[in-house]
Symmetry: none
Subunit: 276 residues, 2 copies
């Protein structure tokens, strides 16, 4: 929790509207993942269940953040005036609670649509889930302090699982890309880029106090940035997982169809011989 | 956000009831699209998922607008009195957030039921989605200002993607109409007219301040007009997409049936030859 700067009407309402946009995007994502699940082959549906959990959890937290933002400010001086902090503190940590649940689930989604050997899948998922949960848990004490030294300590500790996570993602997704059809490889490459681009925002926002960034502009930038990063990293990410799963579902049907034809073909080809 | 004029009891309650009507229409649309999806051929169901997202997102925003309207006015002087603005500002921008998400999705719906070659589909959809998002994003700063000059600037910028969008829609839908069966061509023509008629309202409402339109009558006209336009452009539009998809689903079955008969027919026709 930190002291909230005074905001102009436009600044306040930009954040307000972005928070509301995020709720709407998460709700829409939830509906999409639940409904779109049925157009996938059975074995890929689980990834949409997990995607729905992620945006459902995020939608809940953004609902809380939105209400908190609303309660933490009041308008002083009418429409020509400013938004000034009330006595209600703004809880920065809703987002940590959200990430603590959702980032490990994003890893589960990813591994689920990757071509990984059955024996390796479980251990890969465990490693990624633990690293993701550690990364968020270690960031929490650093976010919740006014001391730059404490923030730097926990920030550094949190960076270790973060780097490990990126390393594993890079090497494992790279391996998968080599054995998938080109269309899936492109989707996986884009997914990896999206992850890197959006995840890059979080440490920047975390380190803002080191650069002496505070005041109205910094507050608006952070809130809007988090909203965009969360929409992209959750809804956008899930839609890309859907695209991968959809493509692979088509292949599943084609493969099953081919298998069925082989069986039918061999029996047809075989019968004349037998009848002869 | 703008200063709200005093309203008579009838004026206030006309807007109030239209906002409530819109929530009901969006919810009903949501249920319809989710349920009606199952009566379509597999390949057209996605258009109903997107329709459901559109009215779901709009329903969420109208719920917020409705509550905001309720909080922004209070009755002074009992049933013979007037509705007077409270200190709670009325957030005009919920609608922009809504359109930013829903107008691109309306484009996705449309392209999905159009007869477009597979290679062209992706690029057409990308063009339309980007133009739609740009159109709304560029309108936002102009809506959120008291200066007519600033409003004119952003309004003009926003008009460029708007005109581009209408041009692409006109030419591409025209091409599709030429190759579709007459019944589908009529539905597409009506859809195009509906789009033009409803979308025409938004720039008119946007430009109202240039004509010196303010006060109670203008406020009521704008709110009721937006509500009607949003119901038509989202629920009405989705129902027309459903009608197109339904007609085409019948054809899909007929085509598949014909294909199946041909296969059966040829093997029946073929067997005497073999047995002979």
């Amino acid at each position: 929790m930190h002291n909230l700067p005074d905001l102009t009407l436009n600044q306040y309402s930009l954040v307000y509207n972005f928070l509301s946009l995020t709720i709407a995007a998460m709700l829409a994502g939830f509906v999409f993942f639940v409904l779109a699940r049925q157009s996938l082959a059975e074995r890929y549906r689980f990834s949409m269940v997990v995607s729905a959990l992620v945006v459902g959890i995020a939608g809940y937290h953004y609902f809380r953040i939105f209400n908190n933002w609303h309660d933490s400010y009041h308008l002083v001086g009418g429409l020509g005036g400013n938004y000034v902090a009330t006595e209600v503190p703004f809880n920065d940590l809703y987002r940590y609670v959200d990430w603590f649940l959702t980032v490990p689930l994003l890893m589960v989604e990813l591994v689920h649509v990757m071509k990984v050997e059955r024996g390796v899948r479980g251990s890969l998922m465990t490693k990624l889930v633990i690293a993701a949960a550690l990364m968020i848990a270690l960031g929490y004490p650093g976010q919740n302090t006014d001391s730059n030294a404490v923030r730097a300590l926990w920030g550094t500790l949190s960076t270790l699982p973060f780097v490990y996570l990126l390393y594993v993602l890079w090497t494992e997704v790279g391996k998968t890309m080599a054995v998938e059809p080109p269309q899936v490889a492109v989707l996986l490459r884009n997914l990896r880029l999206l992850t890197l681009a959006t995840w890059g925002f979080y440490p920047i926002a975390y380190m803002a106090p080191f650069f002496g960034l505070k005041g109205a502009g910094s507050e608006v930038f952070t809130q809007v940035g988090y909203s965009i990063a969360d929409i992209t990293a959750k809804v956008g990410y899930g839609v890309m997982i859907f695209a991968i799963a959809k493509y692979k579902s088509g292949n599943v049907e084609a493969e099953d169809e081919a298998a069925r034809r082989n069986v039918a073909g061999s029996s047809v080809a075989g019968s004349p011989v037998r009848s002869a």
